[in-house]
């Protein structure tokens, strides 16, 4: 047995020709995917070079200007305010949506009646498929200080109406509430499937040992799906700075200081002001920070759970 394993271990690597001969069909099937990856993911990366040039759509010549765009970007107070806002808003959103999804998945897992469970699942997925523009319109009506449902309740209770979407103290909490409402159901899907794979014998053993429901969730269910939670969390960490739609559609001049994020800043600079070089520099900076987050997240995961995902 040992000899067989050693033999396998020291087997010389297959030559390229043999490899092609043996797995040719698989490589052939891989070609379209690779082509898509190169065309749509890697080829556009050439655009990164604009960050180091004075690119203008109106002129064909392109002059290398080194780090001038980065200097202008980093000298802008607006950019650092947007960067700070992005980190704060994205981190809180990520935590709320992640924990909300896990909580929802655990609750769904506890529903015994199959048709009701499926109905509930479907109901909580629906908001994910609504465009942010529609969601913003709905909540603008709901939160209206003059005709909105929420303020009607406040007024009925004797309070003064609050202009939630133009109030710096209230804008972010409502962004979080709306985000959780929209994304929690969709985020729960993966945890629901992970929960389906939890060994029931462990639950039975815990029950025999006298564990109640909450204790079983804490000591059996959550450890069992911790790998999934980590993978999803690290993958989401990579997207933490990608925050545009919800902010753009809910933003207004009164809350710009607490709501402007890197992507809205990039959009304004790039599209509205035609400063493509600075805009690309901001995008590149954002990507570098995202990569650092992913690597850091992976390291933390390795330390806590003993395994990483990259």
């Amino acid at each position: 047995m040992l000899r067989k394993k050693e033999k396998q271990k020291f087997q010389p690597a297959m030559t390229f020709r043999k490899c092609i001969h043996k797995y040719g069909a698989y490589y052939l099937m891989l070609i379209p995917l690779l082509a898509c990856l190169i065309i749509f993911c890697y080829f556009p990366m050439v655009g990164i070079s604009y960050a180091f040039t004075d690119y203008s759509p109106f002129h064909k010549e392109l002059n290398f200007i080194g780090l001038e765009n980065f200097q202008k970007l980093f000298a802008s107070d607006g950019f650092w305010q947007a960067f700070k806002n992005t980190l704060e808003i994205s981190t809180i959103r990520l935590l709320l949506v992640t924990f909300g999804s896990i909580g929802l998945a655990l609750l769904l897992d506890e529903i015994g009646c199959m048709w009701f469970r499926k109905l509930t699942q479907t109901m909580v997925y629906i908001p994910h498929f609504m465009s942010w523009v529609v969601v913003a319109s709905i909540f603008t009506i709901i939160l209206s200080p003059q005709k909105g449902m929420v303020n009607s309740v406040i007024k009925a209770l004797g309070g003064k109406p609050i202009y939630f979407l133009a109030n710096r103290d209230w804008w972010r909490p409502w962004l979080y509430i709306i985000s959780v409402w929209k994304e929690m159901g969709w985020g729960a899907i993966i945890y629901v499937s992970a929960l389906a794979g939890v060994d029931m014998e462990q639950h039975e053993a815990a029950t025999v040992d006298g564990a109640n429901r909450i204790q079983r969730v804490i000591h059996v269910t959550l450890p069992a799906i911790s790998g999934t939670i980590m993978v999803v969390f690290i993958l989401n960490l990579a997207k933490i700075l990608n925050l545009f739609d919800p902010v753009w559609v809910l933003q207004n001049s009164m809350v710009i200081k607490v709501s402007d994020v890197i992507e809205t800043y990039v959009y304004r600079m790039g599209i509205s002001s035609s400063q493509y070089g600075i805009s690309t520099a901001a995008g590149l900076f954002k990507s570098v920070v995202s990569v650092i987050f992913v690597i850091a997240g992976n390291k933390i995961s390795q330390k806590i759970t003993g395994e990483g995902v990259i």
Binding site: S56, F58, D77, S144, P145, Q146, A166, N252, S253, S272
Partner: protein, 490 residues
């Protein structure tokens, strides 16, 4: 010998150089004369018809309202293939800019005042001065309009329509109920809004407005002040740093605190305001006159049959403003010959006073309009038979040049004509803001500083002095002064 040779060499060199200089001067003079002659003697009639023209549009006739039929009619009348691309308004400017990046720029397209100066400064659009003059279009249009579309004396765009203005609409039936006259001063205006708030039960917002920074939509409060870069006595200045803005913002702050100005003005869009007005819950609303005067009246009367609307003359101190015109421009990457062809068979054709203008104003006979005696009767919209079209691409009441045919008149409703008469009597033109490299760089941050400052002041978060001081600090740090110097140097 050497010396003699040196002297000879000098004389020969001088002769050669002199001859070369003379030849160069002669050639230059000849070229200059040829260019000048071309400018003067541009034979407009001899411009040949192009095989095709590409056009990108974003407003006017929508695809679902018979755009295909319109394109086919243009091709039938001109014998030119029309490559017409329609994009929605919110992606139009991005698309045009990306077209420049990808070198797929349409031959002709329109630009708003926000983008026109930038395109001119970048040399992205063609100089149309000679063509405008040679076509006879120049003489048919008021010179002030051409001045608006000119940079350093050269014309780069042809207005699609004459500019439109906004006027303040007031619920006349509410005035009658309160036995009030049309307000003429700011004090009377505020009294009117206060009584609307207090004595009209269905009034939820005495004055509705989309945002707080557009003087055009809030003329009664801005009273001639302008929250942005504006031209005063031929000089470009920052309106946010003038004395009159303080009074305007204080007025708005007081009105907002009193509940006279729509509480949701910050998040309102023009559509929200129209809904507020048409549902009968707003007492005053400043919006476009002419066609919109008709729509605001009739749509309100659908919901509140007894409602009456009046577009009031500007109250004392208030200034109704014309918009800067949207202009048609021609791709600057085309050759001179191609520019001339596109101009004559597209831009010139849409303002020809005849069949071209009729096509651009009314659309296709039998599809969009039908003859009714000496008038044109617009047909119901193809996409929504309950509404009637009011134009194809050019609003007939805002046409740039007169029609030379007598049987294509349009009958306008009273609200249409009355509201138009009010702004025609007093509205002021606005100039295109000149391009400035520094301003392009800071405009995004400056706009945010301005919007935030106005919103904070009006909602009472800060005092007028605090807000404006904070704005000035940001404007100074962004080097707005240099941007203004660049604008004034142009």
């Amino acid at each position: 010998m050497l010396k003699r040779n040196d002297g000879m060499m000098k004389r020969v060199s001088a002769l050669v150089l002199g001859a070369a200089l003379a030849a160069t001067t002669a050639v230059w003079a000849e070229e200059t004369t040829t260019d000048a002659d071309a400018a003067v003697e541009l034979d407009y009639e001899a411009i040949e018809k192009p095989e095709s023209i590409s056009w990108c549009s974003h407003d006017g006739m929508l695809p679902e309202n018979g755009q295909t039929e319109w394109d086919a009619e243009y091709e039938r009348l001109t014998g030119i293939d029309l490559e017409h691309t329609y994009v929605t308004g919110n992606e139009y400017n991005d698309k045009i800019e990306l077209d420049y990046a990808a070198d797929t720029v349409p031959d002709v397209f329109d630009l708003s005042s926000t983008y026109f100066p930038k395109y001119v400064a970048e040399g992205a659009v063609a100089d149309l001065t000679d063509l405008v003059k040679a076509s006879g279009l120049y003489d048919l249009v008021d010179e002030s309009i051409w001045e608006q579309c000119s940079y350093e004396g050269r014309i780069y765009g042809v207005p699609k329509e004459i500019p439109q203005a906004c006027g303040t609409y007031v619920r006349k039936d509410w005035l009658d109920r309160l036995d009030m006259e049309v307000p003429e001063t700011y004090e009377e205006f505020i009294t009117m809004l206060t009584r609307f708030r207090d004595e009209i039960d269905e009034c939820l917002m005495p004055y509705t407005a989309p945002g707080l920074v557009t003087a055009q939509y809030l003329p009664d409060f801005y009273q001639g002040a302008f929250p942005g870069i504006t031209e005063v006595d031929g000089e470009w200045i920052d309106g946010m740093q003038q004395e009159n803005i303080k009074d305007a913002l204080q007025k708005m702050q007081d009105a907002y605190a009193e509940g006279l100005l729509d509480m949701e003005a910050i998040t309102n869009t023009t559509a929200t305001c129209r809904d507020n007005w048409e549902s009968g819950s707003a007492g005053a609303f400043c919006y476009w006159t002419g066609n919109w005067g008709q729509q605001l009246t009739y749509n309100l009367q659908k919901n509140v049959p007894e409602a009456e609307v009046i577009c009031i003359p500007a109250i004392e101190g208030a200034v109704y403003l014309y918009s800067t015109p949207t202009v048609h421009v021609i791709n600057g990457r085309l050759s001179e010959e191609e520019v001339a062809q596109v101009f004559k068979y597209f831009v010139g054709y849409m303002h020809d006073g005849g069949e071209g203008q009729v096509l651009f104003e009314y659309g296709v006979e039998g599809v969009h309009w039908e003859q009714d005696g000496e008038n044109v009767k617009m047909l119901p919209s193809l996409s929504d038979p309950n509404t009637t079209l009011n134009k194809a691409y050019i609003l007939p009441s805002s046409r740039l040049t007169p029609l030379s045919v007598n049987d294509k008149n349009m009958v306008y409703s009273d609200p249409y004509l009355d509201s138009l008469a009010v702004t025609d009597a007093s509205a002021k033109n606005q100039s295109f803001q000149p391009a400035s490299e520094t301003y392009s760089l800071i405009s995004s941050d400056l706009t945010i500083a301005r919007d935030t400052c106005v919103a904070e002041i009006v909602t009472g978060a800060v005092s007028v002095e605090e807000g404006l001081a904070s704005y000035k600090e940001i404007a100074d740090s962004l080097n707005l002064e240099q941007a203004l110097e660049e604008m004034n140097a142009n």
